[in-house]
Symmetry: C2
DNA sequence: ATGAAGTATAAACCATGCTTTATACTTGTT
DNA sequence: AACAAGTATAAAGCATGGTTTATACTTCAT
């Protein structure tokens, strides 16, 4: 598919998609031999990749972190063990974030009690 | 306490503290009458406030969001009910973020299975 | 009383993650 | 054939959340 469809499918704006592609998060292919233009083609796997990027971003990861994750993920030279190590360390980070969020939630819940008591 | 101690107590750099103060997240007092300087004094409640800011930031809230929360929190003119509404809506946002993090975690766990099977 | 260290303020600078603008080529419709 | 709409690239612009720099005053130890 072309970039406009990719944008529709993922809900990510065209400039942002180009920014991501330029950043190295994914790569469309432009078939230089058979086509007169250099329009790029994006396949289904890229839709999935972008959904993953969106999720990771909402979870608070930076593009640089996401890129590292994707790079190790699709790097054929990396051993299974090393890939798993990278992904597991991200899972740990997510656990920490979840833990942090529960702490803030607790703080805010206490805050509500204080408000009800008229302390603030 | 003075700003350098506040920095030590909270682990937040002095320029960042000044940035936050300037942003309106808290306010030190400089006693114009009794002191020859204009050094500001920060009390214990400000340490707590900054811990809260740190937590909220790690949880992914922007300074602008945090400011709104603090403003409503300490705004005497706001009714109990309105304060509680503001804080509850933040709690909802936190729940959503937690949910999102679990989704990404699930994605990464599936990814590990794929790596083990040699799919990527 | 002098120099090092702490404080304050303002302004410039910087990285991240985009968005906007400008330019140029391609395609598709009429 | 011509014009709107889509694609590509590069560069500039922008908001957020700081850090760095420059300048000046205050305090503290000697």
């Amino acid at each position: 598919m072309l970039i406009s469809e990719l944008s529709k499918r993922t809900g990510v704006s065209i400039p942002t998609l180009r920014y991501y592609e330029n950043y190295g998060l994914f790569k469309g292919v432009s078939d230089e031999k058979t086509k007169t233009n250099n329009y790029k083609d994006y396949d289904e796997s890229i839709v999935e990749k972008i959904e993953m990027i969106k999720g990771a971003k909402e979870a608070g990861f930076t593009l640089s972190e996401i890129k590292k994750l994707i790079d190790s993920w699709f790097n054929k030279r990396l051993s299974k063990e090393k890939k798993i190590t990278v992904v597991n360390s991200k899972i740990n980070e997510i656990d920490n974030k979840i833990c942090q969020l529960y702490k803030v939630k607790k703080l805010l819940s206490e805050c509500i009690v204080d408000i009800e008591k008229g302390y603030c």
